[in-house]
């Protein structure tokens, strides 16, 4: 099978890219959401910001 032919370092590059991609995308999405939240939140009076 193809994966048996792959060298170990090559495998690590794929593993690293998978983990890197997931972490970068999640962090970027979280940052974007929080930034949007701050922008909208500033326009709201505090009595309307009762999260939970």
């Amino acid at each position: 099978m193809a994966m048996l032919l792959a060298t170990e370092s090559n495998e690590w590059a794929y593993v690293a890219s998978a983990y890197g991609l997931v972490i970068i995308v999640l962090v970027a999405y979280a940052a974007w959401t929080i930034a949007r939240g701050r922008r909208v939140g500033r326009q709201l009076p505090s009595e309307d910001r009762r999260w939970m």
Binding site: A2, E8, A18, I34, W51
Partner: protein, 280 residues
């Protein structure tokens, strides 16, 4: 505005709101716990758990590539959870007609789309080693791709409708149809591939145990944690936007009434008809 869809309702103490954004003490505490858990998970997944080779290997002999599974499966798991919550929010909105459920469905769909993109990406990376190509018309990959497009359509529909009530109503029905469609698409695509490919592609579910199994389960826990934490922020954002919308409404209503006063004043000076006249 209904906010009861998530957690206890209190504006003080542990849940005191931090000014300006969508964070609260609860979400910050949870975020810190999640960050530590993520670090521990990465250590397990990348360092402490053994590669899938040698004596204890599964039948597929995945080598270091098994580590991709520890992140792919939790991400896929989170995207199913997200879309389940969207469907739940849609059903509850159609039943209860309270805005909170609609906001929950909307927030969860967006988070779900992010997780679905990551599911496809990590699956594709794994596939490039396993199959030698970035994309294979594998049943799971294909049905996941279709699911992604369906929910992109859901989000596009939400953006296209301005009236909040109409938007909630229509989005709820589409959210429900989208979820009902998942099994149909899954089975049709599975049968479609099953008929044509006699050679089985090595599946992504080797038998694993020990540290490998622990890494996978811990990863799923972290994945659900990430979903919950993102949802805390995303739901509050959706809530704040809805609040802002209805806030603008109060202002518009006041302006409209002021306009009426002005018009009436003009009318009296002009001497035209006002109010009820005649027959009662």
């Amino acid at each position: 505005m209904n906010t009861d869809t998530k957690g206890p309702g209190s504006g003080a103490g542990l849940f005191r709101v931090y000014p300006g954004g969508t964070a609260s003490r609860g979400s910050r505490t949870f975020g810190i716990v999640l960050a530590i858990a993520t670090a521990v998970f990465l250590a397990f997944a990348l360092l402490w758990s053994p590669p899938d080779s040698g004596a204890n290997a599964s039948e597929n002999q995945m080598g270091e590539m098994v580590r991709i599974m520890y992140i792919h499966v939790p991400v896929a798991n989170a995207c199913y959870l997200a879309f389940f919550v969207t469907a739940l929010g849609s059903v509850m909105y159609l039943w209860k007609k309270t805005d909170g459920w609609d906001l929950l469905a909307a927030a969860s769909a967006e988070v779900g789309v992010v997780f679905t993109v990551l599911t496809l990406a990590t699956g594709s990376i794994w596939g490039h080693i396993a199959w030698g190509t970035w994309w294979e018309w594998d049943a799971r990959l294909t049905s996941t791709l279709l699911m992604l497009v369906v929910y992109l359509g859901y989000l596009a529909l939400r953006r296209a409708i301005l009236d909040p009530v109409v938007r909630a109503q229509r989005a709820a029905i589409v959210g429900l149809i989208a979820f009902a469609n998942v099994p149909i698409v899954h089975y049709s695509v599975t049968w479609w591939r099953g008929l044509h490919q006699q050679a089985t592609i090595s599946r992504f579910d080797p038998t694993i145990d020990g540290l490998k199994l622990f890494s996978l389960l811990f990863g799923m826990l972290v994945g659900v944690g990430f979903y919950v934490w993102l949802m805390m922020h995303r739901f509050r954002l959706e809530y704040a936007e809805a609040k802002l919308e209805s806030k603008g409404l109060d202002v518009a209503l006041a302006e409209r009434r002021a306009e009426a006063m002005a018009d009436t004043a003009v009318d009296t000076t002009g001497g035209t008809l006002i109010g009820p006249k005649g027959t009662n």
